[in-house]
């Protein structure tokens, strides 16, 4: 077989395996985790039914395509003066389709000086990553972005 031809075939096989995982996820019966917490339920508990507005003040940074589902970088930055009278109280981060959607809730104070939190999360499959930001005046801001999870690369 010519190498070029071989690579075409190799590429085709690779493409199929890259597509397959997201489908097999749904078919398997999943074992239960320690905390089942849907995104909707979490949202209700946190906001108490108050509206959470999409705001340009909240910057949610996640990759569009994740290299792997085990380590997905997430950064939330909020435009805030972080003074006693006006600061970000809490940054919540969610993996909306994970069986426990709650990843982390970070309670900040003016002593942080800047409202930013960065971490890495696990994603069970392609889904939205969302953040809800609770301001010191009791209002809620939100942002969400979709992350495609593929099983990429070799080894």
């Amino acid at each position: 077989m010519q190498r070029r031809e071989f690579f075409k075939k190799l590429g085709a096989v690779a493409a199929v395996t890259a597509v397959m995982p997201s489908m097999s996820f749904a078919e398997e019966a999943k074992p239960k985790g320690p905390n089942e917490f849907s995104y909707q339920k979490a949202l209700d508990v946190i906001t108490g039914g108050k509206p959470a507005k999409t705001s340009s003040k909240v910057q949610l940074k996640v990759p569009e395509i994740a290299e792997n589902g085990a380590v997905v970088p997430v950064t939330v930055e909020v435009d805030s003066p972080m003074t006693e009278s006006d600061y970000v109280k809490t940054i919540h981060i969610f993996a909306t389709k994970n069986s426990n959607s709650r990843c982390v809730s970070v309670h900040l104070t003016p002593a942080n000086g800047k409202a930013m939190f960065a971490t890495r999360i696990k994603l069970g499959g392609t889904q939205d990553v969302a953040t809800i930001v609770e301001m010191s005046d009791g209002t809620f801001l939100t942002a969400a972005q979709s992350v495609k999870v593929t099983i990429g690369g070799c080894g």
Binding site: P63, P73, G153
Partner: protein
Amino acid sequence: MKTGIKIALSIALLSSLSFGGEQFAMSDADRAMYAEMLDNNPADIMVESGSELLEEYCGGDAGLAKFLNVSEKDLPAYIAGFPRYLEEFKMVVGIDQVLQALMHKNSHKPFALKDGKMFDMVAYTKSIANDVAINIDVNANKHMKEAYALGQKTFDTKRGGRGLACLSCHSPDVIGSVLRTQPLPDLGAQNAGGTWPAYRMTKSSLRTLQRRFQGCMKNALLDVIPLGSPEMVALEVYVTDKSKGQAIAIPGLKR
């Protein structure tokens, strides 16, 4: 339901084939996000623990320098030249084998080459040479010349059920093609020699270059070559030489 899945699959397959490059490759912005993670590399903790292990079993930087017969000042540049031919060993060795010998000399049972503690210690030791340019000399003597030739042969030889060689995915004519969402890397330009040991995110652990080669072989269905064997060290010589002149930056962070 079954047909639904089948249709979805064939459409996905079709689109992935025709737009494979664009659709399933990560964007530069995504890649930049991953690069930023180097700032907080979990392997920093492993390097720190490697430093403690080197202190405990090998007498720290000073003990290592003495064993290698170089001054502590010259140690970083010397480390940047590994794998090397060492007269005491009568062969070309990697840093891990030097550490084994030193542990033995200090009356400790040496860690196995595949031991996580050995990986930690190798990572710390190589990090002594951080910011120093790789200065491996494959023409230093006949042993290094032989190791380079054996490394190239190991790299180029097709093996296993699929008849793959390292070269199959890392030859200049396929570098950059996207395979399973990842562009096939140019090992030299991407400084493989200077960025391993690295934290493998998919494995949540620190791995050495030789250990990475093993993972590659396993996935390509090639018989896995043992760590520290002449072929494996030769392969490290050959691949490290591709990054000659680039600065060492340990620990790396890899997918």
